[in-house]
Symmetry: D3
Amino acid sequence: MNGPVIVRTIERPAPDVVSSLAAAGVATVHEAAGRTGLLDPVIRPIQEGVSIGGPAVTVLCPPGDNMMLHAAVEVVQPGDVLVVATTSASTDGMFGDLLATSLARHGCAGLVIDAGVRDVADLREMGFPVWSAAIHAQGTVKATPGSVNVPIVCRGVRIEPGDVVVADDDGVVVVALLSAEKTRAAAVERLAKEEKTRERLRSGELGLDFYGLRQKLDELGVRWVDTAGDV
Amino acid sequence: MNGPVIVRTIERPAPDVVSSLAAAGVATVHEAAGRTGLLDPVIRPIQEGVSIGGPAVTVLCPPGDNMMLHAAVEVVQPGDVLVVATTSASTDGMFGDLLATSLARHGCAGLVIDAGVRDVADLREMGFPVWSAAIHAQGTVKATPGSVNVPIVCRGVRIEPGDVVVADDDGVVVVALLSAEKTRAAAVERLAKEEKTRERLRSGELGLDFYGLRQKLDELGVRWVDTAGDV
Amino acid sequence: MNGPVIVRTIERPAPDVVSSLAAAGVATVHEAAGRTGLLDPVIRPIQEGVSIGGPAVTVLCPPGDNMMLHAAVEVVQPGDVLVVATTSASTDGMFGDLLATSLARHGCAGLVIDAGVRDVADLREMGFPVWSAAIHAQGTVKATPGSVNVPIVCRGVRIEPGDVVVADDDGVVVVALLSAEKTRAAAVERLAKEEKTRERLRSGELGLDFYGLRQKLDELGVRWVDTAGDV
Amino acid sequence: MNGPVIVRTIERPAPDVVSSLAAAGVATVHEAAGRTGLLDPVIRPIQEGVSIGGPAVTVLCPPGDNMMLHAAVEVVQPGDVLVVATTSASTDGMFGDLLATSLARHGCAGLVIDAGVRDVADLREMGFPVWSAAIHAQGTVKATPGSVNVPIVCRGVRIEPGDVVVADDDGVVVVALLSAEKTRAAAVERLAKEEKTRERLRSGELGLDFYGLRQKLDELGVRWVDTAGDV
Amino acid sequence: MNGPVIVRTIERPAPDVVSSLAAAGVATVHEAAGRTGLLDPVIRPIQEGVSIGGPAVTVLCPPGDNMMLHAAVEVVQPGDVLVVATTSASTDGMFGDLLATSLARHGCAGLVIDAGVRDVADLREMGFPVWSAAIHAQGTVKATPGSVNVPIVCRGVRIEPGDVVVADDDGVVVVALLSAEKTRAAAVERLAKEEKTRERLRSGELGLDFYGLRQKLDELGVRWVDTAGDV
Amino acid sequence: MNGPVIVRTIERPAPDVVSSLAAAGVATVHEAAGRTGLLDPVIRPIQEGVSIGGPAVTVLCPPGDNMMLHAAVEVVQPGDVLVVATTSASTDGMFGDLLATSLARHGCAGLVIDAGVRDVADLREMGFPVWSAAIHAQGTVKATPGSVNVPIVCRGVRIEPGDVVVADDDGVVVVALLSAEKTRAAAVERLAKEEKTRERLRSGELGLDFYGLRQKLDELGVRWVDTAGDV
């Protein structure tokens, strides 16, 4: 650790990779990424029916202090997703409609924050997408420094600047920049496969059959009986 | 315990009893059942304004393993509600749009699960009703067996296959199959009584008066004073 | 402590002060009040997009007992907000559509309760605004006395009868009756100032600049570097 | 439901079965019972190094009301374990040194309670063993009835009067009266087997080898590499 | 609110009142105070078997900032108990062995803090009594002001400087300065009464009898039956 | 991600660096490391008064599956600390006295696990040090693979194999292998400085004075008043 730092320039993934991952959605990307990168379900959307994707601009703040969010606005590029962690747990409302106005003006795609947000009625009306750990009007100070665009851990996941963040009604998943292209390919493949599966299930086929689970249940000693009396 | 088992056939309540209970709603059924059978409020709907009722098909799964949900699809009858518990606490996303497609195809009325679900945007769009302990995209495996249609404990309530499950915006309540008819009668009576009470309250009468609480407060030593200065 | 008591008459703030505070919203009022009076974020609205304000009628109940809510209806005046705490933690559904019908009939503006509520589909349909710690159908009794219009502590905040309660999508804040006028003035001033800030942020100016944070970051030893390699 | 009831006489397991299960301890009994009957880990001992076992005398109380505990004292037999659940969640201190004095006088072996206890310094000094969900001095009332010796659900487990309760530093497990003898046999067998395993592990053998896990890891596709560089 | 302030001199209760209340213990004082003043059970002792009492010196800190604790040391008098709340929830380790050394040197009787503490091995060895919401080594800053000796709300209880704090293995209770003498008298009376009750219970009498609960159970409709078959 | 893997050989820090860090303790190391590396306070010791330090052998397990712990035993070297995370939240008792016997036999210094442990009475008696998220007897399976000696995130901290783990009554902190030497130096320096501070505090000096806080409080607008009346 060399003290607090703001990194101006980060490497970003190719836009088409980002948009493919965003389109695939959190659950599919999580699967395509080998079931890694999923934030704890405590992080929830403040709106319904919105999904986003973009490169992570990371921010690390002291609890109850949102000064570094202002610094982050300067380095955000259009399409980026701001991802905020605090050095210790806090639900203070570090983010509201003013910061959202500024971020939106600079093209930011949305916010993921392991802390609280406020002015949520305004945020919903503005259409600025947010995933947060809490809704809390509690005010914060601008007194103690943190960092921007350094690696952070956010609710169980290590995130580096430029990693791809995908967020929707299911939560938030992060794909490492280096794996983004490979994960995109796996996600596309998975979507195609799922569509076929969906068709078979719609037609009435049973997962039990086409996943080959009948035999597996048998091998594992699960008995089928007709009624409770046969147990 | 005789090991994992899948019971194919269960006894179910009369359809008109089920539909009456569903129409009465969770709060009324809970009262009509002598204030029993209510699941812990951690179980929440993923949608608003939907209410369902149906016989329980129960599933007991290991944490992080959804294999038995596939087995349950085979034994579900139209109108049934799938009720899922895990052998230890887990918020993993055991259920998503593929299983919902399959269950919907076989007429399942909805899902109550003490674990996580994913693809919630799809589930809402499909109109497949779900009550769950979490929304979490975390994937699960199909490696360890469990049981279908055995008695389970789900968030504080013992549930037997065929018990009536009622779920709405207030949560989930379960009525034992044997008490269903009696509870239905009590619920119908209660609804009528509540309607009369509602009319009186709408007209401005006070609960204090027609519940006879003035005298009770008096007996219990509660004093009425005009202002704080009189305390 | 002189035992349970119901205080009939309380001092109330001027209606225009209340309506100004309600219009300013929770986050602004919390700031205008010197960042005091905010309830813990566990208290959440059961509806979206609704904001209210009014003088507090306070109720202190034993856990699992809603008798005092009925007593409170008698002393509620049009525009009041009922604020309910329990003597120990409980999520029981102490409040439902019948009590809401009665309170609405007597002009009550809404409910803030550190416990559970039920019949939420009805409450939403009636348009009776509620902020609660839980949604839970669990029934309660009318057996043990409490008090109405005494000072209470509700989720971290001391509330006296007649204090101004403001509640919206961000949560609930309470302003002491004595500070209401001063807080209103500060809130109005703050709204004007925020509007100017919003304009500047919309035009692309950075908070970093007009909050004077660049120099502060510098003084605090935060370094700006071009790329991660320079860290 | 036929209303509140106190059942005076219950069937109890053979004393030697109880003492064998108590000696085996919670973890072993849980395994011997097919991994069933374990209470949620929220239930913790208030003392260290104590283990007990005995038939369950069950009590169901309203939250914040300990009247039924007094009724339970009358039906407790020497060696019994009192197991207490509430009809909804509560941490109130329902139990303290006076009730413990009374229960100890009548030979009760200990208490398991899904609520709070108080006077814990006294309880520890008396040596009256307690497992509870909380330590809380909050007082309770004696106003609303409940039941004694009816089936209850306590933190995830259905318990019938006379079931065997075993509690130690690991928590609490319950064995159905009907399965007690069989579970005892399985526990004894398991203890012997574990002792042999322990000897082999003490001698330096690896679980990897004698559980046959090397081959399993192989089949499941786990790769062994020498250094991180080989990943 | 007139901004942050440190009040040097506070009114304190008579020493013999404090020592009587401390000797009575948390549960008894809570009862003697009409069941008021008890902190939430989240506040737990870091040591076993220690009980203290003393006048409260109150401290209000921003989350993650312990500057005001240093200011508090200057105003602490021998026998005082430091009671610390934060303006929003935090478990940061605001207090450790250095502050404890300083407080002990100035005669402080102990600490109650709704946040985290660290160096707990040292604190236990020094014998400096602490009740806290968490044990957490997380460091804090000294950047943002708070207040000393102002009224605070600490885990559900309003505390004014000079109020009597009593803490033991059961938790923490606070008695208002004005009620201290009256509460002491009630506590002494209660202890005498409890001792008599204890004697009767030790001799085998049942609470059911001498609390008059048999008749009450009868009136409330509780039935006594011999066996489950009679239910 | 290239699938599950077990890495046999890892780089380890110099033994004297490890022992110095262990001797400094969690709070000091956390400070010396620039306030990084501290695990969430949910991870608690199962024993009191024990402190350890050692290189991390990391294990990533599926929830409810402890197969990889057995694999880890093969790669553990004397002095290592096993650090275990699960792919999603679980409190299952993945570790007990048999695994402890095996690890102790191979010289393992202790266990840090973000899950449950069981047989804690045995673990305490054996003197095998454990820090865990829960004590829970719940059994686990050996069915699904994970990895050993890969980077993991454990309760908010990224841990690489070979990083230095220090654990004591305050919790657990992790220092990156590359920073270990530098952090050790900072810790040693800090201990010396703290000892001087301790002496000054013992002699009665105030932190307010020698931290220079009087002036700071002044600059921040904190007022000193004599009595509450002056506020």
